[in-house]
Symmetry: C2
Subunit: 621 residues, 2 copies
Amino acid sequence: MKINEFYKMIQQKPVILDGATGSNLQKAGMKPGVCPEEWILENEDKLIALQKAFVEAGTNILYAPTFSGNRIKLEEYGLSERAEEINKRLVALSKKAAGNKALVAGDMTMTGIALEPVGPMKLETLIDIYKEQARYLVEAGVDLFVVETMMSLAETRAAVIAIKEVCDLPVIASLTFQEDGRTLYGTDPVTAVVVLQSIGADVIGVNCSTGPKEMIPVIRKMKEYAEVPLLAKPNAGLPVLQDGVTVYPMLPEEFASWGPEFIEAGAGLIGGCCGTTPEHIRMLSQKVAGLTTKAPHNEHPVMLASERKSQEIALDGKFLVIGERINPTGKKKLQEELRAGKMNLVEEMAEQQEEMGAHILDINMGTNGIDEKEMMLKAISKVTMVSSLPLCIDTSYVEVMEAALRVYPGRALINSISLEKEKIEKLLPLAKKYGAMFILLPLSDKGLPKSLEEKKAIINEILKRAKALGISKNQIIVDGLVATVGANKNAAIETLETIRYCKEDLNLCTTMGLSNISFGLPERPYVNSAFAAMAIASGLTMAIANPSNQLLMGISFASDLLRNKEGSDIAYIEQIQRMAPLKEAAMAKAAQSAGNNGIKKTEQTDNKSTAKEADKKKNPV
Amino acid sequence: MKINEFYKMIQQKPVILDGATGSNLQKAGMKPGVCPEEWILENEDKLIALQKAFVEAGTNILYAPTFSGNRIKLEEYGLSERAEEINKRLVALSKKAAGNKALVAGDMTMTGIALEPVGPMKLETLIDIYKEQARYLVEAGVDLFVVETMMSLAETRAAVIAIKEVCDLPVIASLTFQEDGRTLYGTDPVTAVVVLQSIGADVIGVNCSTGPKEMIPVIRKMKEYAEVPLLAKPNAGLPVLQDGVTVYPMLPEEFASWGPEFIEAGAGLIGGCCGTTPEHIRMLSQKVAGLTTKAPHNEHPVMLASERKSQEIALDGKFLVIGERINPTGKKKLQEELRAGKMNLVEEMAEQQEEMGAHILDINMGTNGIDEKEMMLKAISKVTMVSSLPLCIDTSYVEVMEAALRVYPGRALINSISLEKEKIEKLLPLAKKYGAMFILLPLSDKGLPKSLEEKKAIINEILKRAKALGISKNQIIVDGLVATVGANKNAAIETLETIRYCKEDLNLCTTMGLSNISFGLPERPYVNSAFAAMAIASGLTMAIANPSNQLLMGISFASDLLRNKEGSDIAYIEQIQRMAPLKEAAMAKAAQSAGNNGIKKTEQTDNKSTAKEADKKKNPV
Ligand SMILES: [Zn+2]
Ligand SMILES: [Zn+2]
Ligand SMILES: [Zn+2]
């Protein structure tokens, strides 16, 4: 099935999915602990009867019972060598049950072995496992794919990448959220939507998780950010234990009564998960018949995301800081650590920058004597464990960028794409494939633009090329390209005009590296901070900076406050609180250097040396 | 003579003045040490012959020999009781010599007793003395006045005020500059022009001083700032001592050869001072015959001035700081000093603010328990002795403002004139009379404007009223009226728009008090500084602030640098150097408070208490 046909179908009216497979087959005699795929192949009529009942109840898309048909899961029963046969026969059963009354989706889920860095599974291994199953399912003739009951966003992403690399069938990605509104791995619904739609999922959904009531707010939240249709497949209520058996207690009528609210909340595809019978589906189908589904909004907030957190990037939003510190340029200690293969300092910098109020973390591993690709992947792995901020991947090498974008389980920011032939030709397609946002650097093979006009022309040329690849304008953040005011007296004025032009004339977000402006001047923080305030007044969206720079951060947050950006008053006060320990530390440091080796009130104070210092002071020179 | 007739006359072609009186009369027999006025009256024919010779040589304006005819000078010869008779008879002689071929100017000069605070003479006493002589001269029928050979700007100003309060004849104010380019009292030519034309002098000039060569650059400099015609009356060269007698050696031909250069430099009225004979004037007159004088420039730099220094106020000029500290509001120690009649703290604040880079000093004496007018005059007197910065007179009382403007020997800034009936009706005429610039405060009797539109309407209404009084737009600086962002979230945005509106739409300079914006917020300097940078980017001309606030000053000077204002790079570096001692002091203070009362490396360290502290530290709790 072509994706546009599929979209046409799901745009017209609510699409009805099927109900539970497992719980219904257990009622039909399947014992707990058996391999469901194997049992079905031994009891084909039971499956066909159940699925026919679903189709008769109104199901438009049947899920083929290939849920655990991946090599790892099958191997638990010693069946991995039969993977192809099993997947193909299972699809054939569903197709028989569907007749020409329903589509059949190839169903896939987690392998049970967690991805790195949580578990031992390597990303490329997992992609290969999913690719294998996907190929069997395509060959068996599924109309589309559903990756469901996913508890890990990273694994969902791997499955979507795998399927997209095997075929061009529509892919539904459906996650399971706990009662706290997050997946087991900590992903919230918005982050899931941001990451999955950026990687190309055609429908995003929620299944299993909870009963309908608890699932509605998840769908509602997702809808605000979704560019794609949404799917809801709740269980028949929250499970209760009856006589030692887990039971889903919600009866068909009550279950179906939630249908219209799901449509209102924004779901376009609805069905049931654990505990739902053909009767649940029949009543649900009747309840939503004639309702109109909601189209995606035209204007979605634009977001970056890590695996666990998303960050809005808005033209009129609060000023954002890309923490610049994870970059070995000019940092001897960090260079040494990286050459020794160590990541302690990188982790520390990530944590500190998040604490100090950074919104995004730049990762740059550009130094000699290391394998930059290997270290970039290692840094991403380590940083994502200690910080939930989205990453900005900063490298001069296309292959390092590609590896990083593929492995990063969020929506990354590419730093950067210029008009240089090598960059634009290779990086734009990567931005497209991985749905990453990117920093547009207005440079060309001729070097730095000689004038503001040339700079604007380069920006427009890159925009044109991006558009030709189907990259949305809102994926792009323009770098204002800051020169040094000591070398070009109009450096600040030209950058401010670039920012104004991008915001007002092109509606594009902007970023810049602040500190270049003041190169060679004394007391550079004054210049950098004044520049920040002016740039924010001109509409700057974000800057790459050191979030431990109190002056810069204080001025930046104050600038937002003065511009009356939403929530900026609270953000300012929070930032001041965040910086309080830094201020104290600076005072203590001043005490130590300005005073006569003045004694600090810190826990590190060594009583012995204190006493010695005190003795010395008795006889001041 | 009406001023417009006079202007018509001097616009058409160079106006020729006379030459020396004293040196020529000495040649005619007047002995050194005698009272010249008395000698002339005893030798009327000698004067008439000399002045007739001048008229025949081409003189258009004869100076009546009333130079020292003021009560103080005459009293040196016991002649003060004959002042009226002497002045009137002297004018009659000149009128006789002039026939109807030349105008006669009533000539006045210094009394020889210096004005307060340099000498014992009170301003109102001096004005009365000048008024008395001016009345006699008017009654004697002079066509205009010349106040000449003035070495004190303040006394010149007093004479101009006196004449203007007695009649509406044209007034020429002519100073004497030393070879270093300043008057004996330290006034430079630009400051002289700024102050004298603001107070209403109709022609400004230079006489005596030096020979022609040295006077040309003074005229040239004055011309850049002058809205009125300029006069040059040099000596016949620099004096030399011959046989114990002072001789002015320049011969008529050489003297006259400078004439065209004077016209080119911008002088419209030329003549000779010490040592110049009718022959000098005849040759000069011939030399410049047929030349065209230069009209005043259309666009003059707008300046504030103290008696010794002027400060340009330019729409695109460097950002200026009005030092706000001399204001007892919220300053207990200063209040106590003022109540005790002491000015030590005021003087200290003036010096410190100038050292820290303030461009203008605000003087506010508003506190209870003192005579505000008396203290304002005292403060002006003391501050002008220790600082050469121009003053901003800040008071709620019209009578305090009037007294201050009258006594201040520079061009002051009035802080402020609102649309409140009492303020606009009484203060606008004072701004006109004393030529002061003023801060337009967009308030009305209805209080603070409720909207940006109302604010703009108030600004335009005040502009209209000022124009009706003949006050030039460039005398006005608009206060952006800063509200508190905590109370009005759009406070900053509205002030920035007011600044933009004034600069771009009205071409008016702007000022504001920065700190109000951040009332109630933590770490207010961040907010104030960010606001300063944004306001400077929007075109703010100046702000009232504490120049010891390093952050604010650093950010403000950096903002100018970023805006690429002329000379702003050097100004930034100078400001950083100026602040270096403050930075060190802050470090030392931090050392003292952050460390465990850490011992400072300062001379104030008390060895005893240091030892005691050190003992305590031996046993840390
Ligand atoms: Zn379920
Ligand atoms: Zn939306
Ligand atoms: Zn002279």
